[in-house]
């Protein structure tokens, strides 16, 4: 079995990096919005988790 060359041609390979950039921007924006919408109580509950034991 050969692991390469199933297709012979590609037009506009530049679309691949563009897709990746757009994906990241969308993803990053979503994460940032979510993070800032999380309530203060939840955040402070989570951030003190390592300090619980002693």
């Amino acid at each position: 079995m050969k692991f390469s060359h199933y297709l012979e041609k590609i037009t506009g390979v530049g679309i691949y990096p563009m897709i990746s950039l757009l994906l990241f921007v969308a993803f990053f924006t979503a994460v940032t919005i979510i993070v800032f919408k999380t309530s203060k109580e939840t955040i402070s509950e989570m951030e003190s988790l390592p300090l619980d034991n002693n």
């Binding site: 692991f3 390469s4 990096p17 988790l49 034991n53």
Partner: protein, 713 residues
């Protein structure tokens, strides 16, 4: 609500902590040996298993997978149960994980020294060990997820996200990069060839740095830094953004290891763009760590643990600033193949991984033995020794890199190269000595730590288990009205796992699929032919001796490289290279066009005594190649394996391959006889000469015309 009783096990973290120190000292000692070998070639001792080409992979693998690996597991087995208020899911699996991992390290070190290597950096171990690693890694994952699913704490702290993200990505990277076809026990060929192999390898190699040396250690930072400072992390929100953007971006950055090579241009640009974007989350994480200590800097002055953490996080910031800079093409032109890369990784490894590990151990060992640190003063001494070691290691390497760059690219007014390669090597040797001294100083600090921690353990009493209690997790939990959906991810580990896998999977696919599927991206060259059986055997000797640790086979399209080494390398030249051997460091000259440059007798004498042909050379001698016979019994299965992977040997060629092999070997032996060298044509040196004389010749015949290169053939 009713409280449930359970206990935290300290035995496994203790075992992993001891293994961390043990392998750390060994791995660094091997590194010091390798460093001195570059300055004093006599330290190669003329033995196969002590030459640099085999020692260097032992050093890198030991430091990454044995030292840092055991460091990760120490942190996970200590922090995971405590963050989730439960015991580890299975003590038996923990033990299998521990002993299995140590066994892999031991067998790995032995087989690497014996010359069993895939030649792919940080993935050198051969196929039986690749399978063993996969099994142990899955066992670790089962144990980790078992623990997470039986937890008594609803939220997963961000450190655990980093553990989960690292686990799933390392699993993916390891499996994809380890696709190889075994030809015998402990010998295999990479399934991919040439450009594709290089792309997969550096997608793996870069992310081994990302998901083995960085993300799990960020988990460690997010747990132990707040613990040691006794205050929460500066911004928990920032840590969430840090996590998601880091794992999203890291996976794309691999191609920056292949700038100016024969990799398609769009893939190189992709690597650069994502590497630069990486600067933001990395620095977000660094600032998050440092700001945690705001208003507590007085503590840093007194507490060695915090001192180590501060320098570790600072080094993280420095290397993650340097990394994106190195991925700019113009900077990479200077740094690639040079000692700059070595300096860069060591600021990361010695500063970030080393110091974070030391800080963790100084905090953890007294806790495990219910006592105080034996000597804070010694720990502070270690801190200063270690810092000095890093500085003395890094500065000579930066200096050497720039020095060699300016010498390499210098032309005389008449348009000739001003310096021979050997002139450059000679002027770099003093820096190799300084670097080796820096490494020795750093190792001394580690030994001081081991002494201090052994004393600490002796003055205390080991606490095998710690009792604890917590209420069980409510079943059918309903989130309060108005909470956001991200809170759901924080409660659902499997969803977190799947999401991380999707995030890193997209990155891997978009990066690799086009190069794999599209013929246009790797133009074929009609004159490029498969290796003859003798050359193939010679190539495997080249791999076995680790020649690619010092010699690249990839000429970049620069005037000073083309003038020095010959026509720059084309993607189509490597289509039969399973695995690719581009290398990543030029301690010796590039060999991509070595074929026909020197006489057979030159190579013969050079391999026996490098300085006889090239005075001032720091290359080791390879006397055993003149005593051992080529293992012709393997020719058959090697040819067969190559054809399986698409190398166009005619059907049934394997049965007559050895006839061709002997014919070619006799020709070389006759040729050597003309130069008054008597040698049995069965010896390994003959095969190696055959391979070296073949390198780059395929397109040499018509190298002036680019007509040979066509996209449609």
């Amino acid at each position: 609500m009713q409280l449930q009783k359970f206990s935290y096990d300290n035995r496994i973290p203790k075992m992993f902590a001891i293994a961390t120190m043990f392998w750390g000292a060994i791995g660094m000692l091997v590194g010091v040996l390798a460093a001195f070998q570059l300055a004093f070639p006599a330290l190669n001792f003329g033995l196969p298993f002590t030459t640099f080409g085999r020692v260097r992979p032992v050093h890198t693998n030991a430091v990454i997978f044995a030292f840092v690996g055991n460091g990760i597991f120490t942190a996970v087995y200590y922090s995971l149960p405590r963050l989730l208020k439960t015991s580890m899911w299975s003590n038996k699996l923990s033990k299998i994980h521990f002993w299995g991992w140590q066994l892999i390290i031991l067998v790995g070190a032995i087989t690497l020294l014996m010359g069993y290597t895939s030649s792919k950096e940080y993935a050198e171990l051969e196929w039986p060990l690749d399978i063993a690693i996969a099994i142990i890694w899955v066992i670790f994952g089962i144990n980790m997820f078992g623990t997470i699913l039986t937890r008594r704490e609803r939220y997963l702290y961000v450190a655990i996200w980093f553990y989960i993200g690292s686990w799933v990505t390392v699993a993916m990277l390891h499996i994809v990069n380890s696709f190889e076809l075994p030809v015998s026990f402990f010998k295999s060929y990479s399934w991919y060839a040439g450009v594709q192999d290089a792309l997969v390898q550096w997608w793996y190699g870069h992310n081994a740095v990302a998901f083995f040396l960085t993300t799990p250690y960020l988990g460690l930072m997010y747990y132990f830094l707040p613990k040691a400072a006794n205050r929460p992390i500066y911004s928990y929100r920032l840590s969430i953004v840090h996590f998601w953007s880091l794992i999203f971006l890291y996976i794309w950055a691999g191609p920056h290891h292949l700038l100016y090579t024969a990799l398609p241009d769009w893939a190189q640009s992709l690597g650069t763009a994502f590497s630069i974007m990486l600067l933001l989350p990395s620095w977000g994480g660094m600032l998050n760590g440092l700001f945690t200590l705001r208003g507590a800097w007085d503590k840093v002055r007194e507490e060695p643990v915090l001192k180590f953490f501060v320098v570790a996080v600072t080094c993280y910031g420095m290397s993650t600033f340097e990394g994106p800079m190195l991925s700019l093409k113009n900077v990479n032109a200077i740094s690639h193949y040079s000692d700059w890369t070595i300096a860069h990784v060591h600021v990361g490894a010695l500063g970030w991984n080393g110091f974070l590990t030391f800080g963790m151990l100084y905090w953890l060992i007294p806790k495990l033995f219910n006592t105080k640190l034996y000597s804070k003063k010694l720990a502070s001494t270690h801190f200063w020794i270690g810092t000095l070691g890093i500085v003395l290691y890094a500065i000579p390497m930066y200096w050497a890199a720039f020095r060699s760059y300016f010498m390499m690219k210098a032309f005389t007014p008449a348009g000739q190269l001003q310096y021979q390669f050997i002139d450059v090597v000679q002027s770099i040797v003093p820096f190799y000595v300084l670097r080796a001294i820096g490494g020795t100083i750093y190792l001394t600090g580690v030994l001081v730590m081991v002494y201090n921690l052994v004393k600490t353990a002796k003055q205390g009493k080991f606490v095998a288990t710690e009792e604890a209690e917590a209420p069980a997790l409510e079943k059918n939990y309903k989130s309060p009205v108005g909470s956001f959906w991200h809170a759901v991810i924080e409660r659902k580990p499997i969803m977190l796992l799947t999401l991380s896998l999707i995030v890193v999977g997209i990155g891997g696919l978009v990066e690799m699929v086009p190069t794999f599927l599209i013929k246009e991206n790797v133009p074929t060259i009609t004159s490029v032919k498969p290796y003859t059986p003798l050359e193939l055997q010679g190539r495997d000797i080249y791999i076995r001796e680790g020649c690619s640790n010092c010699h690249s086979q990839m000429i970049r399209p620069f005037r000073y490289e083309v003038a020095r080494y010959g026509e720059y390398s084309k993607a189509g030249e490597f289509v039969y290279d399973h695995p690719f051997l581009w290398g990543s460091k030029r301690t010796g000259p590039d060999l991509a066009r070595e074929g026909g440059k020197n006489a057979d007798s030159w190579h013969f004498n050079h391999m026996l005594e490098p300085t006889s042909m090239s005075p001032g050379s720091i290359m080791p001698a390879y006397p055993w190649l003149f005593e051992n016979d080529v293992d012709v019994a393997t020719t058959n299965s090697k040819i067969y394996a190559m054809r399986k992977m698409g190398v166009p040997y005619p059907d049934g060629y394997e049965s007559q391959a050895n006839k061709d092999l002997h014919e070619q070997a006799n020709k070389i032996a006759t040729n050597l006889k003309k130069d008054k060298i008597q040698v049995d044509s069965k010896k390994e040196i003959i095969a190696l000469i055959a391979y070296l004389q073949r390198l780059g010749k395929d397109i040499k015949t018509g190298e002036t015309s680019s007509n040979n290169i066509s996209a449609n053939n």
